[in-house]
């Protein structure tokens, strides 16, 4: 790696909550064992599919924050518990005003808005205490994070559909580059809701079976939910965020450019920003939604970006937790950080039998590997693409 690449920004702590568990250790243990966690949705939707459901009763927010309480904010609270010591240390080290918050979400607490709407339709009144600004909106998400962390730097929510939290990393990197902050709590959160499930069904993209990214038998997406956070600091120990690249397809609202040019541009921009060469990419955590179209497009774009000389391990982790939408970039970043820290890569569950057209090295079981540089992709409605490059601890 070049000197430029060595600079990066260390990720000094991270955590996640998703269908594999409510602690990072639980999640990573399941990932390592190749145990997917997908089940029928709990929302009463008349839809035959399976989802990555957080199937645990998480604690409500404290009394003084109850106006922000939602399924989404409980994911956030749970994920923050594990990194609270690191956050305290960052606040002490840099000062609360020099630590920012950048969080991505696609729907925030839309499930709570759906519920309030239905109660209003049945009773003529919104639920007692319901406030669409505070408990159902992105403002509520930001305020929850401020209240739970005591951080006083810039606080932004990004909502670029399924690229939201990946783009939060890109923005956080720019904040650090510009000297606006010395550390950023970056992450994402999304919870299951009816609009999402019915919407993806309307597009004909939902799979009735567990999703199988990169398999010749792939049938579509499973939707998931959860949250993940990472603490980026100007200096410190840990795997590093080396670079970020973003692009737009300028093609179609829901269908990616079939030639993968937008995806290729974001990967190339991330690799360039990281100051590494394409051949150095050891591992790609793909967007890998399990639709016929996305996986073919993404495989084409990866091959075109990295070139014939490269042979990275390519994995989609959506077979474990589903597509967690706005949280996906952050959750998959945590998976990548674990790989860089501990020297292994999860299997791309469901990929067997591999679609021969994919043309990539896709393991279906976990493999030990000395991963030095990894790339993670997130693509979204509106043709919004983001790629992140992470490096192993020095």
């Amino acid at each position: 790696m070049s000197d430029r690449a060595r600079r990066g920004y260390p990720v000094t702590a991270w955590s996640t909550v998703n269908s594999l568990g409510t602690s990072t250790a639980e999640v990573i243990s399941s990932l390592r064992r190749g145990r997917a966690s997908l089940m029928p949705p709990p929302l009463g939707a008349p839809i035959e599919t399976v989802c990555g459901v957080v199937d645990s009763d998480l604690p409500a927010l404290p009394k003084e924050l109850e106006r922000f309480d939602s399924r989404n904010s409980r994911f956030v609270q749970q994920a923050l518990v594990e990194i609270s010591t690191a956050l305290d240390a960052a606040r002490e080290r840099w000062g609360a005003a020099r630590v920012g918050i950048c969080v991505g979400s696609s729907t925030a607490a839309m499930d709570k808005i759906e519920n309030a709407y239905n109660i209003h339709a049945e009773t003529g009144s919104l639920p007692s205490g319901f406030d669409v600004f505070l408990s159902g909106s992105f403002d509520g998400l930001v305020q929850t994070l401020r209240a739970l962390t005591g951080l006083e730097g810039p606080a932004t929510a990004i909502s670029n559909a399924c690229a939201s939290s990946g783009k939060a990393f890109a923005s956080a990197r720019r904040w650090l580059d510009a000297g606006v902050v010395d550390a950023v709590l970056v992450g994402g959160a999304d919870s299951l809701c009816q609009i999402t499930l019915r919407g993806f069904r309307s597009l004909g993209l939902l799979s009735g079976e567990p999703t199988r990214p990169f398999s010749s038998q792939r049938r579509g997406i499973n939707i998931g939910e959860g949250a993940a956070f990472a603490l980026l600091e100007r200096s410190g120990e840990g795997p590093r965020l080396l670079g970020a690249g973003e692009s737009g397809d300028a093609h179609h609202m829901t269908t990616p450019d079939p030639d993968g040019r937008g995806a290729q541009r974001s990967m190339e921009a991330a690799i360039s920003d990281a100051g590494v060469s394409a051949i150095e990419i050891d591992y790609v955590n793909a967007h890998g939604t399990g639709t016929a179209f996305n996986d073919a497009m993404e495989a084409r774009a990866i091959r075109a970006t990295l070139g014939a000389q490269a042979d990275p391990i390519v994995v989609s982790t959506k077979g474990y937790v589903g597509h967690t939408l706005g949280a996906a970039g952050a959750i998959e970043a945590v998976f990548v950080l674990e790989s860089l820290q501990n020297g292994w890569v999860p299997g791309s569950v469901g990929a067997d039998p591999l679609d021969p057209e994919i043309g990539l090295n896709v393991p279906t079981t976990a493999v030990d590997a000395d991963i030095r540089v990894a790339l993670s992709n997130s693509f979204a409605f509106g043709g919004s693409n983001v790629s992140l490059v992470f490096g192993a601890p020095e």
Binding site: Y117, F138, A161, S202, M253, V386
Partner: protein, 256 residues
Amino acid sequence: MKPVYVRGLGFWTPGFASPEAWCRGEPDPSVDVPDAALLSGPLRRRATGLTRVAVEVLQQAIRTLDCDVATIPIIWATAHGEHTNAIKILGMMRSGEGKLSPTHFHNSVHNTASGYASIALGNCSPSTTVTGGVELVASSFLEAVCHLEAAAEDAVVVLADEPLQPPFHYSEGASPLALAFGLSSRSEGAGAVLTDFRRDVIAPVKPRDRFGPLYVGGGLPLLERIVLRRPGTVALEVASERAGPIHCVDLELLET
């Protein structure tokens, strides 16, 4: 941080189709639907009301920015996003229509306007949609400023929101509001320059009755003072329960 030059502005609300008309207080009753000519026929037919107002002010701001529209980063800011469309979808689900149309669904994401505009302009830039509450306007400027600090020569901030719809209405009868700022590292042709984005103890922006509590209204004083040539420190936050310093910026005027 580098100074940020303002080289383009955009404004739209019913009755007012330009920053100058708004600042002069000269309503035109014929202004009821935004032109959004940037969108081709098929795109315009599918676009939501929020997307149309956002695209309208974008095209106003880039008119004088003299930029490469294919590469310029565009920062979209909206607190409620496609709330009006989401309420329609909830009604459809409730009434048993069940299946949504793909258009209704893809028009429900916060970055809907960004998607439509990128297709219309052939814009492949790293555009971002920021959302939130009282810090929304400051967040959008932060994104743009960081792009300018990095590699971008120009960037546009588009602020757009519609009043919340029943049963969630906070501001029945309020108007949609959209404003845009064409920002640049280049001083040529700029009428104003922004320096020292910070938090300070100054009075926040008072909500206007016409727009209710729309957070994007936090950008109104900046636009008005640029048009009316009134320099000084300008607040970027609407009044809220939040105590302490608020986001603001220094505005200086330039000879054009």
